[in-house]
Symmetry: C2
Subunit: 195 residues, 2 copies
Amino acid sequence: MARTQGSHSDITGPRIQAAALKLFAQHGYAAVSMRQIAAQVGVQAGALYNYIPDKQTLLFRLMQDHMETLLDTRRAQSGQGDPEARLRDFVRFHIRFHLERPDAVFIAYMELRNLTPENFTRIEELRGDYERDLEDILRDGSAAGVFSVPDTKLATLGVIAMLNGVNTWYSSSGRLSLDEVEAVYWSMVRKAVAA
Amino acid sequence: MARTQGSHSDITGPRIQAAALKLFAQHGYAAVSMRQIAAQVGVQAGALYNYIPDKQTLLFRLMQDHMETLLDTRRAQSGQGDPEARLRDFVRFHIRFHLERPDAVFIAYMELRNLTPENFTRIEELRGDYERDLEDILRDGSAAGVFSVPDTKLATLGVIAMLNGVNTWYSSSGRLSLDEVEAVYWSMVRKAVAA
DNA sequence: GTTTTATCTGAACAAACGTTCATATAGATT
DNA sequence: AATCTATATGAACGTTTGTTCAGATAAAAC
């Protein structure tokens, strides 16, 4: 038995990534076997190695893709205006972007310890780029006197942590709509950094 | 080969818990083997089964112990006073308690998916008890007119998420002292829920 | 229609997994 | 001093792990 009907690199490749994303998010990197991923794709385990060098690289690529999509998407719609408008845009963007891809978000936060040191460093750099975006807004607002935060760096981390929390409980079929969640969190963030 | 010098149940038992706590936090439940835990204790893998029925129960007990210590400690020093004073106490307590045991906190959040359904339910109940404590404060404050939150439940989750973020970056040798961190976060939380 | 190439199978590898158990002995009890 | 028991060892178990590779065949190129 060998090559099967309808086998294509450009189909199997993305399917492996999708299956790995789902399974890693569900059970954790270490708890998922290559055979489970292969079964989800509908292929034998050996076939995976036509697309990835090893399991570690598969994890790294998922996280790297996620972080780069985050940065690219953010840059594409990074708004202008006064600091308060920019902060509101950031809050709305962050919530929406992260709620759209809960699996990738979960992995990007939870599986950091399963990266090799070099891979870990790379992902942390990308995360730093993203946080700097918010930090710039808060610093500009503080300089302009419209914000008052005791510590810009801590406020950045505090706001992001608060927003990330949404992913742990939000359900699209739940009590609140996405718009309502955005409004509630924007209200809290705005007041938290207000002058 | 057999029982070794200085072998004692009341010593080995806690040492297993301590070793498992450290290793699970470092590498994740699924990535840690019973042999690694045993090696850290200085014993063979088989000896672990004099103290725990299986690996799953070991994880559950760690999380249960953590949550019950959290609730007991909180109850013992749960203050009185107006809602603002109670909220300040909660913020300070939460930060301090969680920074004192980063490994247990990490496990209690990250390894939920590795619990059996019954064990998961039990831990979530305990977490709910803790969150209710904060929610009561926010509701009382809202009723008294000193707080203004768009949604009590979301404010609870938002505040806890923000506070939990401290554990991801705080270092006792870092730029800020524990007192300073508490002050910064109290400032942000106070404003976020202010009327 | 023939040849080439990309894609997959299925078996194989050594290593590691959680758990069990017969056996040995240090320390407690008498 | 003799006996008992709690606490350990170390080998063994069947399974699963990530990864490799020779061989097979569908699809693409000629």
